[in-house]
């Protein structure tokens, strides 16, 4: 592909087109023709869309100017030297304690030497996206070629064009994979670049699994991660996300889930680190009586910004949604929660509740919260609640009246506030890990004071 193109191109998209065109992106990858075609079509869509505008609702809380000024092109090769002491330290820092089933990516590519997932039970397939393209086209091709629910998402299109790797997990029907599966995304800090990862989880009928995905790194980079979850009827899947990216990093995470009848999805996101973190969830309830629990929290300081977006689309009757999100912003940080629940015509007896509670600590910190219900069925139970405030003065005084110093008392109250959101996370090892990361983040806030 040459740099001469026959479709309209937005200025900010041009460097990415050139990177794609420059010699070898496709040739080096030696991918099948269907995938090359898919990438080209996705790139054309991105070129046409350009970067999302802040005037649109979906990106109004994220400052993309640094990215517009200085493009962050994709990492071109896997640098083995990058699997250095730095990434091993990152892994030791963020990894679950004890033996786990662990899949590690460094700079967006599978790192087998850091991964430990031998002896998977029968009916569980786990591999890199690159491996899946070669070995399991049955799993991945139809998935990639299904048009995305919202084709106007520019960075999803860019991800489709440029993704280097990711993971693919398939749980066969009836299989319960009880060990928590840990996916760790590291960034070596050796390149200032964009990391595009694309992953897929296919949960078979009546299957059960739990995944935690952790993101950590060094240096300045832009992570653009897209994960698709497909839950067959009666499947159960839990996905926790822990974002502790480097202080200068951008993290855009997107999760697209499709729920079959009577399936259950539990998703939790804990956003602690990164300059700009965006966590965008779309859930489509396509089968009757599906249930989805979405939870999460962000804890921000300095000039961090974080944005949680949820879109739950009930297209089938009897579905249940529970959302519980918490936010804490200190110093000059800015957080935002945007939650939309749609109930389509005919999706009767849907029961959906959304809650967004936030603490703004300091005159220069801010949190926006924006619930949105769109209901086109008449027999439904839907509600939402949102609150933004300061710590409870009466509780603070009570703690201080027992001798607990002001700073420690405040930390106790913030910790209790954030932890409440994580208390329902299953299974226990993932929950305990998240709770300990919250405590650690709060301790680091205290040190800064």
């Amino acid at each position: 592909m040459s740099t001469i193109v026959d479709f309209p191109v937005k200025a900010e998209a041009r460097p990415y087109l050139e990177a794609f065109g420059r010699g070898s992106f496709l040739r080096d990858r030696q991918e099948p023709d269907w995938l090359a075609g898919y990438r080209k079509a996705s790139l054309a869509r991105f070129a046409e869309l350009g970067f999302p505008s802040r005037r649109g609702e979906a990106w109004r809380y994220i400052d993309l100017r640094p990215l517009e000024k200085r493009p962050m092109l994709p990492v071109r090769t896997t640098d083995q030297a990058a699997i250095s002491a730095t990434v091993r330290d990152q892994l030791a820092e963020i990894g679950l304690a004890g033996p786990t089933c662990r899949f590690v990516l460094v700079d967006g590519r599978f790192a087998p030497e850091l991964s430990t997932f031998e002896r998977l039970p029968e009916g569980v397939w786990l591999g890199s996206t690159a491996a899946a393209i070669a070995e399991r086209p049955d799993l991945i091709r139809s998935n990639l070629e299904t048009p995305p629910p919202d084709p106007a998402r520019a960075f999803t299109a860019l991800n489709a064009a440029l993704f280097a790797d990711g993971f693919v997990l398939e749980i066969a029907p009836g299989v319960a994979f009880e060990r928590p599966l840990e996916i760790v995304h590291l960034a070596s800090g050796t390149v200032e670049a964009s990391l595009h990862t694309r992953s897929l989880v296919v949960s078979g009928e009546d299957s059960r699994a739990a995944v935690i995905e952790s993101f950590i790194g060094a240096g300045g980079y832009w992570r653009n991660d897209v994960v698709e979850l497909r839950l067959a009827p009666s499947a159960e899947l839990a996905r926790a996300v822990l974002v502790e990216e480097a202080a200068a990093a951008l993290h855009f995470g997107e999760m697209l889930a499709t729920l079959g009848a009577a399936s259950r999805l539990a998703s939790f996101a804990l956003l602690l680190g990164g300059r700009t973190v965006r966590h965008d969830i779309t859930v489509r309830s396509e089968g009757e009586k599906s249930r989805c629990d979405l939870g999460g929290a962000f804890l921000l300081s300095g000039r961090q910004e974080a944005n949680i977006l949820t879109t739950v689309d009930h297209g089938a009757p009897g579905g249940e949604t529970r959302e519980n999100f918490k936010g804490v912003a200190t110093e000059r940080a800015h957080g935002a929660f945007q939650g939309r629940i749609t109930v389509r015509p005919g999706a009767q007896k849907v029961d959906a509740h959304q809650l967004s509670r936030n603490l703004v600590l300091g005159p220069r910190a801010a949190i926006d919260t924006k619930p949105e219900l769109e209901i086109y069925a008449d027999d439904v139970k839907c509600s939402h609640g949102a609150a933004v405030g300061d710590l409870d003065e009466a509780a603070l005084f009570y703690l201080r009246a027992r001798g607990i110093p002001n700073g420690e008392a405040r930390r106790m109250l913030i910790e209790a506030f954030v932890q409440e959101a994580a208390e329902l996370v299953e299974p226990a090892p993932i929950r305990e890990h998240l709770l300990s990361r919250i405590a650690r983040r709060l301790a680091s806030l205290e040190e800064q004071e």
Partner: protein, 249 residues
């Protein structure tokens, strides 16, 4: 131990609630402060503990020969001042044991003593519970969350026993309690009596004083102490009501 001299305090909206309190409480003494609603009893407790929303416009409070009003609320507590709240605050998500251990260790650090680890702390807790004849049921719950009125007051008494204050101020700890809960509170107070500790009981009713015998009784009215006496004053109040005292003052 506690010397209050000509204490005037007002709410931040400007209303003057305390209008010249003089009170001296010595180590080993139990004082009861009685008075009708709105006389300033709870304001006095709040000002001594350092709650926001009050402004001291005149007078001094000396505690263990230090200027109490210059200290932050948490420092007052670490220096041995304890306020049993009239309305203990519910704190969701903060475990009662964790809360209490943090408080004890803050105090120990302040005194230059080593902190208690979880095991040592638990041993102290068990001993105190036994002493007060309390169950362990409240310990694993969040601080005061979902506690009945009686449980909240028991929790206050338990905290007092754990923190072993030099000066304990109990703000209407007896109000709203049935007779069994009242006896538990009274037992807690009596056990805390010691030659180096002072206790101030703020109460509307004489009832608690049937179980805890005060050394001095004061009547607070219109923001001032209008009468002081020994325990017989409480009985007189019970018989004659506050109206009579008001007329006499």
């Amino acid at each position: 131990m506690l010397e209050i001299t000509n204490l005037h305090a007002r709410l931040t909206d400007g209303r003057e609630i305390l209008r010249g309190i003089d009170l001296s409480v010595g180590a080993g003494e139990v004082h009861a402060i009685m008075g009708p609603n709105g006389s300033g009893k709870s304001t006095l407790a709040a000002v001594l503990a350092g709650r926001d929303g009050y402004e001291v416009c005149e007078g001094t409070v000396s505690y263990l020969c230090r200027d109490l009003l210059a200290m932050e609320p948490d420092e007052r507590a670490r220096e041995g001042l304890f306020l049993a709240f009239q309305y203990p605050v519910e704190i969701p998500g903060v475990n009662n044991m964790y809360f209490l251990r943090t408080a004890i260790n803050a105090q120990r650090r302040h005194r230059g003593e080593p902190e208690l680890d979880a095991g040592q702390f638990l041993r102290v807790v068990r001993a105190k519970l036994k002493q007060l004849d309390l169950g362990e049921d409240l310990l694993q719950r969040a601080v005061n969350v979902g506690f009945s009125g009686g449980e909240k007051k028991r929790n206050e008494i338990f905290q007092m026993a754990m923190l072993e204050p030099r000066l304990a101020i109990l703000d209407e700890t007896d109000s709203g309690l049935d007779i069994d809960a009242l006896k538990i509170v009274a037992r807690g107070v009596n056990q805390q009596r010691s030659p180096d500790r002072a206790i101030v009981l703020i109460t509307h009713y004489q009832r608690l004083l049937n179980y805890v015998e005060p050394d001095r009784v004061h009547v607070l009215q219109g923001g001032r102490i209008v009468q002081s006496g020994d325990k017989s004053l409480a009985l007189e109040l019970e018989r004659r009501g506050y109206g009579d005292i008001e007329a006499a003052a």
